[in-house]
């Protein structure tokens, strides 16, 4: 006899476990299937443990620069094992937290590898044991994994993905980071601050290609100034692992190939969805370019089967997955006759993106180039950290906040920030976009002094030629 539920969630990352909790809140009997650790990549091998590592490198950086604040710190050093241990402890704490949440919400956790075996049927294998589950609705939230280079598979020793880079047994001395998205730049920043010699190679002609071009330029300068070597418009052609490191052949912008020796390589060239061996073929769930196809509420082409998060395509962000999870579960509840839920499809233009390098990068909405392409006449405001009292007091006077408005309607089309703590600031503009404020409401809003947030106000004012402090 199979165990019968109202909802089965396959995968317990930030998409899956949030969906399971929302289902339980709506009175569903929910089971969640996880092959490894509750919380998925995000809180075990992604967002959270990297933030813990970056916090260590940030404090280390401040300790080395204590003099700038009138302090002194001699013989500053670190113990890599302890830094990693702290990061693991943080993950462990959150993993236990998710366990607690499952228990509190009376969600059945089924450990093992789950695969759909038929309509409403899923079987979970754990060693020799197989558990059969049944539910009218199944949500696939199996996430994604790091993409490998076609010519050099990550071995975890010399050639690493984010997962290995999270728990280094020893510090790299000379590190090559392939790819300059959020993951690549965060690791580059971490290892650089910890003393490694870091090189970033990016195929596109600028780093952090999804961000606004001005942000890319700023980051290029800031990271270069910190000692990171950056090659844009360049591709790695070959990696040869030897006894003491890796020899990389890099084809530069000029078309010439050069070789270099590195102690380690981190591959951060993107991710691919986990769509294999989970039974999609048995029921005919359609996917395209590696991602499951869904509608605005997470429905696949097969009734009763839903997909959320990384497995259903870009942007590959935890908060996007969580949000899709809630939307899908509410749509399921509505199909079941619940009239009190109002699932809303997410506007992908309102999903913020954050990179926790030093300096931080955060953005929402369109870049300036994209807004121009879309045919908007623009009003663009830019306000530098150097014009903000709090930033100067913090000793963090580098960075800027850029806002892009439609000149005709006053719609906030996009906001782009680089500098200290901007990952916490961006939310203000996300709320503004969600509420569809225009420049007027933002100008009329009172911002507390002294805060970094004041720059958000000034940037809006700057777009209309009214900035006060610059």
């Amino acid at each position: 006899m199979a165990d019968t539920y109202d909802l089965i969630v396959l995968g317990s990352g930030p998409g899956g476990y949030v969906a399971a909790i929302r289902g339980a809140q709506l009175g569903m009997k929910v089971a969640i299937v996880e092959r490894e650790r509750l919380g998925g990549i995000c809180l075990n091998w992604g967002c959270i443990p990297t933030k813990a590592l970056l916090r260590s490198s940030e404090i280390y950086h401040y300790m080395q620069n204590a003099e700038a604040y009138g302090l002194s710190a001699d013989n500053v050093s670190f113990d890599l094992a302890k830094v990693v241990e702290r990061s693991r402890k943080v993950s462990g704490q959150l993993n236990a937290g998710v366990k607690g949440l499952m228990k509190k919400n009376k969600i059945t956790v089924v450990e093992g590898f789950g695969a759909i075996t038929g309509k409403g049927k899923l079987s979970v294998k754990q060693g020799d044991k197989t558990t059969e589950l049944e539910a009218k609705n199944i949500i696939i939230a199996t996430g994604a994994r790091a993409r490998d280079l076609p010519f050099a598979k990550a071995d975890g020793e010399r050639i690493r993905t984010y997962r290995h880079a999270m728990v280094p047994p020893a510090m790299p001395t000379k590190l090559l980071v392939i790819g300059s998205g959020a993951i690549g730049v965060e690791f580059a920043s971490f290892y650089n601050d910890m003393g490694a010699e870091v090189t970033i190679v990016e195929m596109v002609d600028r780093i952090m290609p999804v961000e606004d071009a001005e942000v890319s330029d700023f980051m290029l300068k800031a990271l270069t100034k910190q000692g990171i070597t950056i090659q844009t418009g360049a591709g790695v052609e070959k990696l040869e692992t030897g006894a003491n490191g890796v020899t990389a052949t890099i084809k530069g912008k000029d078309g010439k190939s050069t070789t270099g020796e590195y102690s380690h390589v981190i591959v951060a060239i993107g991710i691919i969805s986990n769509i294999e061996n989970i039974g999609l073929e048995t029921v005919g769930v359609k996917s395209e370019r590696g991602a499951i196809l869904i509608d605005a509420y997470g429905r696949t082409n097969v009734p009763g089967i839903w997909a959320i998060g990384d497995v259903a395509g870009a942007p590959w962000l935890a908060h996007k997955a969580s949000h899709e999870g809630v939307t899908a579960v509410e749509a399921i509840a509505q199909e079941n006759g619940n009239k009190d839920v109002h699932p809303h499809p997410m506007d992908k233009g309102n999903i913020p993106g954050c990179t926790y390098a030093r300096p931080q990068v955060a953005s929402v909405g369109m870049t300036e180039a994209r807004a121009k392409e879309a045919g908007h006449a623009l009003k663009v405001g830019k306000f530098p950290f150097i014009g903000n009292g709090k930033a100067i007091a913090l000793g963090e006077a580098e960075g800027f906040i850029k806002t892009i408005f439609d000149a005709k309607t006053g719609e906030l089309l996009g906001a782009h920030m680089v500098g200290a703590e901007v990952t916490e600031l961006i939310q203000g503009y996300v709320v503004a976009r969600q509420l569809e404020t225009t420049e007027t409401e933002l100008m009329q809003t009172v911002f507390a002094h002294p805060t970094l947030s004041e720059m958000m106000h000034e940037s809006v004012l700057a777009a209309y030629g009214r900035a006060i402090h610059y």
Binding site: L293, D295, A296, Q334, E335, E436, T437, T438, T440, M443
Partner: protein
């Protein structure tokens, strides 16, 4: 400091009006109670009285200006003890910003339109905000809309009230305006946005947006025609009747009613009342009959109000009166407790003033149910559109001699058909039927109307 006179909200639903005529000119001294201007609203022309005393400083809105939004400054008054040479242009943003404090004291609680006499308001910092955004003044029926949606609506010339909002709690958002663009093509059948690679574009039922109000067809007809601008009244009629038919599920119940007894009684009463100069019409008696029926069947004397049902303990009957250019519904308040002669006198007065456009708002607003009589036009039977927020309207057809079965024998009787339209959200069919039965009984046994 000069006081700004603002376009008053002369009725709870008034959003804008026409400044028909100025009764004062710049430099005139006015006392409280003096008539300042005539303002034409959606339903009537009303006089705007002075509350403060002083000298008219400057007239800011010329006579004959249409569509003046409530709250717009239309003139300034200079206080008696002030120098008349004080700057007249009170609306300049810099000034109201520079010296906001002294005005706060006498600024009445602004913005909320009431049914009371129009208020004048001291200028507020609003002037500054207006310079930036010209926000729609807040109105009695606040339309929930995002700031961006408001601005887009203004730029596109779309009436926010005509949109159904898809945001939380019916908030009008940008996407709703995309659908409402004048001249926009019919929306694609699949609601999926281009950004969503959607293999199946099913939308959960409750999220399916109500079909956007169809944009008014543009008058591009080749047939020779004359285009005339809609009057305020015509706009309101159009909006409210559309709302009613779109939002109120109507149920119609028809009965045939013998009138012989009522006509006989009317004749006798009119003979008796002749000395008093009162002449009862059939309609006067039907008003009373409807009011008594509503009191007898209170489940039909109701109003559907969102998550509440209001049951009234008094029957105020709105009577549809045709006037040049439209229709107005003066109200006979508490018609159930009024004598027939009183109703007749009241209706005569109301109808006369309605035709002259001189009704006060309280005389045509409110009402718990309506009565519409098209018998005089020879209409046999019709179904009327409910007048929201009311929950029922009685449509009266012509009284005519018809073959009628009386006590099992075919005979001739004077019969009229009456059809009640009921808001089915608030009134069940059986309750409606009870009301129709009570109405029929009262009309066929009319002594109940004079008892």
């Amino acid at each position: 400091m000069p006081i700004e006179l603002k376009m008053p909200a002369l009725s709870p639903t008034m959003e804008e009006g026409t400044l028909a005529k100025w009764l004062v000119k710049e430099g005139d001294v006015v006392r409280s109670g003096d008539l300042l201007a005539e303002i034409e609203t959606d339903k009537a022309t009303m006089e705007f009285e002075a509350v403060d005393e002083g000298t008219i400083g400057e007239i800011l809105v010329a006579e004959g200006s249409e569509g003046v939004k409530v709250g717009t400054a239309i003139a300034t008054i200079i206080g008696e003890d002030e120098d008349a040479a004080a700057p007249a242009k009170a609306a300049a943003p810099a000034e109201s910003k520079a010296a906001p404090a002294p005005q706060q004291a006498d600024a009445p609680k602004a913005e909320t339109p009431t049914q009371e006499a129009p208020k004048q308001e001291a200028p507020k910092q609003e002037a500054l905000a207006k310079a930036d955004t010209a926000p729609a003044p807040s109105e009695g029926d606040r339309i929930k809309a995002s700031p961006l949606a408001r601005r887009l609506a203004q730029q596109q010339g779309v009436d926010l009230a005509s949109l159904s909002g898809s945001g939380p709690n019916g908030r009008v958002v940008k996407a709703d305006l995309a659908d409402a663009k004048p001249g926009a093509k019919a929306p694609e059948p699949a609601p999926a946005k281009p950004a969503d690679a959607a293999p199946v574009a099913k939308t959960p039922a409750s999220d399916a947006k109500a079909a956007p109000a169809s944009p008014p067809p543009t008058a591009t007809s080749d047939i020779p025609h004359e285009a005339s601008k809609l009057s305020n009244m015509r706009k309101v009629i159009a909006r409210r009747l559309t709302e009613s038919k779109q939002q109120v599920p109507h149920i119609y119940l028809t009965v045939d009613i013998r009138l012989d007894a009522l006509l006989k009684l009317r004749g006798e009463l009119n003979t008796a009342l002749e000395a008093r100069g009162v002449k009862l019409s059939v309609n006067d008696m039907l008003i009373k009959a409807l009011a008594l029926s509503l009191l007898e069947v209170p489940s039909c004397n109701v109003q559907f109000a969102g998550d509440q049902l209001l049951t009234f303990s008094r029957a105020d009957i709105s009577v549809a009166v045709s006037i040049p250019g439209g229709l107005i519904t003066p109200v006979v308040a508490d018609a159930g407790n009024k004598g027939l002669a009183g109703i007749a006198t009241e209706i005569k007065d109301l109808a006369a003033r309605a035709k002259a456009g001189k009704l006060q708002p309280h005389e045509y607003q409110g009402g718990t149910a309506s009565l519409s009589n098209m018998g005089m036009f020879g209409i046999k039977q019709f179904e009327a559109v409910i007048n929201p927020p009311q929950a029922m309207i009685m449509a009266i057809g012509a009284g005519e001699q018809r073959p009628y079965v009386i006590d099992g024998k075919l005979d001739v009787a004077t019969v009229m058909s009456a059809t009640g339209s009921f808001d089915h959200r608030a009134i069940d069919g059986a309750d409606g039927a009870q009301l129709m039965a009570a109405f029929k009984r009262l009309v066929e046994n009319p002594l109940g109307l004079v008892a």
